[in-house]
């Protein structure tokens, strides 16, 4: 089902004409209203008149997360405060958060794109959406909430935390849709099992998971343990919040990015050069309808690829492949690039291994070391030492074979790796401290 079939299936030519018109308006607006962009464009020797085709987008300078920090809090706003009706901020792990403002029209757009996203995931009017994304400064909770209401579904504004209560409400209220981080869904299923509740017996039919990178193997695990269809959603507060892109339930092969509102590009994160279709690199997004804080060529740091191939669902909007991590959470271990999601895929390919793992990176005598902690549950456990040691060696060997990095696997007791109710902490990099 589509929420806005006309725009979701707009022929490429018409879509690109619309993009160009909207891009030109956005560029003119930021040049006129945001001193940061005026200076950046002047430095790059470009002006709004330089944008005569979509290809001219590449002539414009990038916007970095650091630029948003430097403009803290409202420096990049393109609308007067009188027109701003909502302010959100990213969960800035280091230093000040990045702040975003929305006009009433921005909220309308966001609600529609989130409603489109729900519909693409197979959510209908009549569904009961259990929204466990955090409500507050984080965009997840309210973003999903407004989209759910726009679609006409019933939304339960759970927010994060208080897992026991979440499970009780999900069961008693008959929730049919779950929205949260993928790791939290497994955390809840595990907690429910301890309460004697089988998630598979609940009424949930779909889960919409985002806000952290995950793998196909984790999808299979979630679908099995929760007996639902698991859909990948993408968004970031700088661009809008959740609902920038989503998988369609028909194909589940790549996330449609709503191109009538965003222009995606893929670049080489080292050189900034544009990469051809299908190649993996850093996602760059330009917003073309936002009023509060339009961003030109924002570097998301998320690593993905882009395809314009037609999709089985009939939508004409380009698709992003599953994010394999962020260009800035990539670990470089003895010169080898390692994404935590790659290790996760390997672990979950091994029978009985739970998706609860922790990577500890350290530097001993100028040599990087990687320790992979894996929880031992009843399916893995044996009363014989040699069987457990063989398991450790198998994991070490597969990581070495596939990623080219030597690691040490440490088997740990269940539930010793901290469970996060929001984003799972997967990496402890002790090298940063020294």
């Amino acid at each position: 089902m589509m929420y806005n079939e006309e725009f979701e299936t707009l022929p490429r030519q018409a879509l690109e004409a619309l993009q160009l018109k909207r891009l030109q308006a956005t560029v003119a607006r930021v040049y006129a209203c945001v001193p940061f962009y005026r200076q950046a464009f002047d430095r790059a020797g470009v002006s709004p008149d330089s944008v005569k085709s979509l290809a001219d987008l590449r002539r414009l300078p990038f916007t970095l997360k650091q630029d948003m920090r430097d403009s803290y809090p409202y420096g990049l706003f393109a609308a007067p405060m009188d027109d701003i009706v909502r302010i959100h901020a990213s969960s800035g792990t280091t230093g000040k958060p990045t702040v975003v403002g929305y006009t009433r029209k921005d909220i309308e757009t966001w609600s529609e794109l989130m409603a489109r996203s729900f519909a693409a995931a197979g959510v209908h009017k009549g569904d009961i959406i259990h929204n466990s994304y955090g409500y507050g400064l984080f965009t997840g909770g309210l973003g999903a909430h407004y989209g759910a209401e726009r679609l006409g579904a019933s939304v339960i504004p759970m927010s994060g935390g208080n897992t026991k209560k979440q499970i009780m409400i999900m069961k008693d209220f008959g929730s049919t849709v779950l929205t949260c981080t993928p790791s939290y869904s497994l955390f809840m299923a595990e907690a429910a099992r301890e309460e004697g509740i089988d998630f598979r017996s609940l009424k949930l039919h779909v889960g919409i998971f985002g806000a952290e990178p995950w793998s196909e193997a984790m999808r299979a695990e979630i679908e099995e343990k929760l007996n639902i269809c698991a859909i990948d959603i993408y968004g970031l507060s700088e661009i809008m919040g959740p609902g920038v892109a989503i998988e369609c339930r028909e194909a589940k092969k790549g996330l449609h990015i709503w191109e009538d509102h965003f222009i995606p590009e893929i670049i080489d994160p080292e050189t900034g050069a544009a990469l051809p279709e299908g190649e993996r690199g850093e996602l760059v997004i330009t917003t073309i309808t936002k009023e509060g804080i339009p961003l030109i060529r924002y570097r998301t740091r998320d690593i993905t690829s882009l395809t314009f191939e037609p999709c089985a669902c009939g939508r004409t909007h380009a698709r992003l492949s599953r994010m394999t991590g962020r260009s800035d959470d990539m670990l470089i271990i003895r010169g080898v690039n390692v994404f935590p999601s790659q290790i996760e895929s390997i672990l979950m390919g091994i029978e009985g291994v739970e998706p609860h793992y922790l990577l500890i990176v350290d530097r001993k005598e100028n040599l990087d070391t990687l320790e992979v902690q894996v929880e031992v549950d009843e399916r893995l456990f044996s009363d014989e030492v040699k069987i457990l040691q063989a398991l450790s060696h198998q994991i070490e060997k597969e990581i070495k074979d596939l990623l080219g990095v030597t690691c040490k696997v440490r088997l740990v007791e269940p539930r010793t790796i901290a469970r996060s109710e929001g984003k799972a902490k997967r990496v402890i990099d002790n090298r940063l401290l020294s």
């Binding site: 044996s382 009363d383 457990l388 007791e413």
Partner: protein, 143 residues
């Protein structure tokens, strides 16, 4: 003729063993025999207890990974050469011992050896044929 042993996964860090015994003690579970296999990272604690179900339940509630394993308990005369005769009999029939541990009966003249075999049935047959006393689980739990 088989005995149920419970095995517990414990990380090699201080206090874990104390924690297991505290949980069992508070639940009123009595340990009949034990063995600890350890590596640099983890250990496997193997126990024969008077109440397996309760032991398993309370340990699982506290988050430990617990499994049950079938082992064989054999009575051995408490004198030089007692164990050797058993092992020779097993060896003749090509039966492999995965691990074993022993304790001495409280007021008897016998020692009890707990064996973990990969082929449990075959081992029991060999032991019986050779005249060794294989103990019933119930007797051991209540010892």
């Amino acid at each position: 003729m088989k005995v149920e042993q419970i095995s517990i996964f414990i990380e090699n860090k201080s206090g874990r063993l104390a924690e297991v015994t505290r949980i069992l003690g508070e639940a009123g579970v009595n340990i009949r025999a034990l063995s600890l296999a350890d590596t640099s990272d983890f250990g496997i604690l193997r126990l024969i207890v008077n109440d397996r179900e309760k032991a398993k339940q309370v340990l699982k509630e506290q988050g430990f990974t617990v499994s049950k394993t079938e082992v064989v308990a054999v009575e051995v005369p408490d004198r030089p050469g007692g164990l050797s005769q058993i092992l020779q009999a097993l060896d003749r029939d090509g039966i492999n011992v995965e691990y074993m541990y022993a304790f001495v009966e409280r007021c008897g003249e016998n020692a009890v050896i707990i064996f973990r075999f990969d082929e449990t049935e075959k081992a029991i047959a060999t032991l019986s044929t050779n005249g060794f006393t294989v103990l019933e689980g119930e007797r051991l739990y209540a010892m």
